[in-house]
């Protein structure tokens, strides 16, 4: 793997010219309407985290209601349903998707593949501004008459557009418009990421030398470009049903005693469109996390990633399979039950490449030389929560097991573990890892330790017990349980406990934000390459890198991204752009 392509040695340094665009003329073009992918990345991230805060506050309100029902006059049933809907949609789409692709994708892709910028910087800038508009439209829905939609983040018709659901008028239409805008904005960015990876890699950066972070983000972007259109058409059709009275998703309906004008549409059609997007969406969030966590583990364990080629193939195979499993969300939807055989089989097959990834992460730790830095801690915590959430996926994917569990709290616990907690732990790890590159300073270690332990153990304590409520048969999306014969009093005590922990974990995030601001001014100076990493983003002339990323010459790549602990090498790491010594390096292989 460390082997050197002989032809590359002979190629002169790459000369991608420094262009005028890289020298912004005014403050506005430098920081506001910037075409520098790194600035766009920070704009994307800040916006995503800001709207994510709204979702976090909504989760506290929901938890208050679940832990202490009938104690809060200001939370009515309709509010609760609006909270879950906005919380879910914001977390999945406007926070995680935007942060991983728009944030980390923009920052890391050009730097890691040795490009000066994204290939279409202007379109890249537009992508952000349209995303911002989508967020504003979403926020606006809180202020229209009837409030935001309360249809659940899945927005299933007919209820999404009928009067029994909060926000069935303006709320749902704004949600659909916002999603359509989001998709348009994302497509502009997404085409950029894909083209940059395919066309703008520096010399020597073959596909099989790319860091897994780039592989993860690249594959996720391809998935998103293929999956989002299904949501887009679904959103357009539902908007037409709602505004013009068409019947794409609307059969003949008697709503609260009144015969509606709709006729002949299919509610299940929407579910197919939604989940054709919705399942790949899980991987749109997960694959970048897989990629990033692989690199965090490798750098901080001072060992090459184990089974790199297998890791790349696993990402690609998982990506491809994710398009043939969508109906596992619909086992009890009333679709033809024989589909269950097919979708259960495909779903469980995905477990194999996914398990391989887990094995390879842990095998990277084996015989390594591990530094327990904050990024490493978050990476380990990711593996724990991801495996936990992954195995409960085997319950829900195995069609007949899903029958009693679907739409219970078990599902809520499962997806929070696997696509809520796990990716967010990676995001934190990634921020602790790349913050020194972005700001030139290290984040404070003590605050980081506190933040890590409270977040990891707290999140685990919140979501582990929720599975057991699901076993009992406690439904999701219930404003209050009321009286039942099968839920014991102890379950209410458990709910109170979960709420208290959720509030503590929430407040602990303030420490993180304080750390981010404090360290910007007072943090320890990071210098060049504080983690002794091999990848190109750490080999720039300036830290933080300027527009244009690299100095006069682009780096030339001679090796894969994981040369840690190479026998015979001077240091325990060899950067990707480090030219080989003529003969001996090859002998070492």
């Amino acid at each position: 793997m460390a082997e050197v392509g002989a032809e590359i040695e002979r190629i002169g340094p790459a000369e991608v010219e420094d262009v005028e665009l890289y020298h912004a003329k005014s403050w506005i073009t430098k920081y506001v309407f910037s075409q520098d992918a790194k600035v766009i990345a920070i704009q994307y991230s800040a916006t995503a985290i800001a709207i994510g805060m709204v979702a976090l506050v909504l989760s506290w309100l929901m938890r208050l209601q679940l832990g202490f029902p009938e104690s809060f006059d200001f939370i009515e049933a309709q509010d609760y349903y609006q909270f879950i809907t906005m919380h879910g949609m914001i977390m999945v789409v406007y926070l995680l998707t935007a942060l991983f692709l728009g944030g980390f994708g923009n920052y890391l892709i050009p730097l890691m593949v040795g490009a000066r910028d994204m290939v279409f910087p202007y379109v890249n800038m537009l992508s952000y501004w349209i995303y911002l508009l989508a967020v504003l439209v979403l926020v606006a829905s809180f202020f229209v008459p009837g409030g935001p939609t309360g249809a659940g983040w899945t927005l299933y018709p007919p209820q999404a557009i009928l009067t029994g659901t909060p926000g069935a008028g303006a709320g749902i239409v704004l949600m659909l418009v916002s999603l359509a805008l989001f998709i348009i904005g994302f497509t502009m960015g997404g085409l950029n990421y894909v083209t940059t990876v395919l066309q703008a890699r520096t010399r020597g950066m073959t596909l099989m030398r790319m860091p897994l972070t780039v592989w993860g983000i690249f594959t996720a972007t391809v998935l998103a470009l293929l999956a989002f259109p299904a949501l887009f058409v679904g959103a357009v059709m539902m908007t037409l049903d709602s505004v013009l009275g068409t019947s794409f998703f609307m059969p003949t309906i008697v709503s609260q005693g009144e015969l509606l004008k709709h006729d002949g549409g299919s509610p299940i059609l929407f579910q197919h469109l939604f989940w054709f997007f919705g399942h790949p969406e899980v991987y749109i969030v997960a694959l970048p996390a897989f990629g990033i966590v692989s690199d965090l583990i490798s750098v901080h364990a001072r060992r090459h990633i184990f089974g790199y080629r297998m890791m790349v193939w696993a990402i690609v195979i998982i990506g491809a399979l994710s398009f043939v499993v969508w109906a596992h969300h619909m086992y009890v939807s009333g679709m033809n039950p024989y589909f269950g055989f097919f979708f259960a089989t495909t779903t469980l097959i995905i477990a194999v490449p996914t398990a391989i990834k887990v094995y390879n992460w842990t095998l990277t730790l084996w015989r390594a030389n591990i530094n327990f830095t904050l990024p490493m801690l978050f990476a380990l915590a990711f593996i724990v929560t991801f495996v936990n959430g992954g195995i409960t996926g085997l319950f829900l994917g195995n069609v007949v097991v899903d029958v009693p569990l679907s739409d219970t709290m078990f599902v809520v616990a499962h997806f929070h573990m696997v696509m809520g907690v796990a990716p967010i732990l990676v995001i934190f790890g990634a921020i602790y890892h790349w913050y020194p590159l972005m700001t030139g300073r290290m984040l404070n270690e003590a605050m980081g330790q506190f933040h890590f332990w409270v977040t990891f153990l707290g999140a685990y304590m919140i979501f582990l017990p929720i599975h057991y409520l699901g076993f009992l048969g406690v439904p999701r999306r219930y404003f209050e349980m009321g009286t039942t014969s099968f839920i014991p009093e102890s379950a209410h005590t458990l709910n109170e406990f979960i709420t208290v922990v959720a509030l503590i974990v929430g407040v602990a995030q303030l420490v993180f934000f304080y750390n981010v601001v404090w360290s910007m001014i007072k943090g320890k100076k990071a210098g060049h390459n504080p983690w002794k990493a091999t990848t190109l983003e750490w080999q720039t002339e300036e830290v933080p890198p300027g527009h244009g990323n690299f100095g006069r010459e682009l780096p030339v790549v001679y090796r894969w991204a994981y040369d840690y602990g190479v026998p015979g090498a001077e240091d325990d790491f060899v950067p990707q752009n480090h030219p080989p010594k003529r003969a001996p390096a090859r002998a070492a292989e």
Partner: protein, 290 residues
């Protein structure tokens, strides 16, 4: 520290599982196979989970950074990778195959199953059973009105003796397989009784179904399991499973479609009479006033 943390998570999870008073609500149907499949899945996946965490804890302890030491440089290990792939595939198949086997039973409704219909609308349940003919009458949403809440076609002779239960609990005989036909007038709903383990969405414009056999007498909660608007959490009813004789008694007291229609007609006729009497009285009154 992290070693302790990881071990704590592994041990804590196992302890929580062992000590947790929260587990399946005791079953009251034939779907014990589903519970068995879950227990099997639990053991296979639980072992893997604990093994992965403990392996990480071991690595964290054994391969902690030491100055001057280098990690092992061996990018691939084909043998190990293949073995892990094969073992995983076997484990997955070990869960999938029993699962599909049970699913096959789930989708194969026994020929002797009695059909009943559950109808949902925001936010209440109603139930319909075939009469002596054993057949449910055809329905049409467009026929639904206050007098015919189920939208049964009055011209269909099969519908005349259908038993209608509106605003009361559902009763079912013990140990008889039931095919539940599901219908919704407005939005998606989902009929679920946790003790029966089986559920299915109700979709307007379609009839969905599932089957089960009640195996224990008692009164169980019916809950709606698909978000259906602001009243979702309050959409409740109950099902009473009882021995055949008690069930027959109950059944005989219920309203049939024919009786319901007759009652409606009688009321209509009375209203008409009332109306004409009132009109006559009005005329008389007017004349008198002149």
């Amino acid at each position: 520290m992290i070693v302790v943390g990881l071990v704590l998570v592994a041990v804590g999870t196992v302890l929580f599982h062992l000590l947790s008073p929260w587990w399946w609500t005791p079953i009251a149907s034939n779907w014990g196979y589903i519970d068995d499949t879950i227990v099997l899945t639990f053991w296979i996946t639980g072992t893997v989970f604990i093994a992965v965490i403990l392996f990480m804890a071991y690595c964290a302890l054994r391969y902690k950074h030491r100055a001057g030491v280098r990690s092992e440089y061996r990018p691939e290990n084909k043998n190990l990778e293949w073995w892990l792939t094969i073992v995983t595939t076997v484990g997955v198949a070990g869960m999938l195959i029993p699962g599909l086997f049970v699913w096959n039973q789930f989708v194969t409704v026994p020929a002797e199953a009695t059909e009943i219909e559950v109808m949902a609308k925001q936010w209440s349940w109603s139930f319909r059973k075939p009469g002596k003919d054993g057949k449910l009458g055809t329905t049409n949403v467009r026929l639904v009105n206050a007098d015919n809440p189920f939208g049964i076609d009055p011209k269909d002779p099969n519908g005349q003796d259908d038993v209608l239960v509106d605003g009361d609990n559902l009763h079912l005989p013990l140990n008889k397989p039931i095919k539940v036909l599901l219908r919704s007038l407005d939005v998606l709903h989902d009929f679920y009784v946790p003790q029966f383990r089986a559920k299915m969405d109700m979709v307007p414009g379609a009839v969905t179904y599932f089957w089960f056999t009640p195996t224990r007498t008692g009164t169980f909660d019916i809950l709606c399991f698909e978000l259906c608007g602001v009243g979702h959490h309050a959409m409740r009813s109950q099902v009473v499973v009882e021995a055949q004789t008690a069930y027959d008694n109950w059944l005989n007291q219920q309203m049939t479609f024919k009786k319901a229609l007759a009652a409606v007609e009688k009321r209509a006729a009375e209203n008409k009479q009332l109306a004409s009497r009132k009109a006559a009285a009005d005329i008389v009154a007017t004349i008198a006033a002149d």
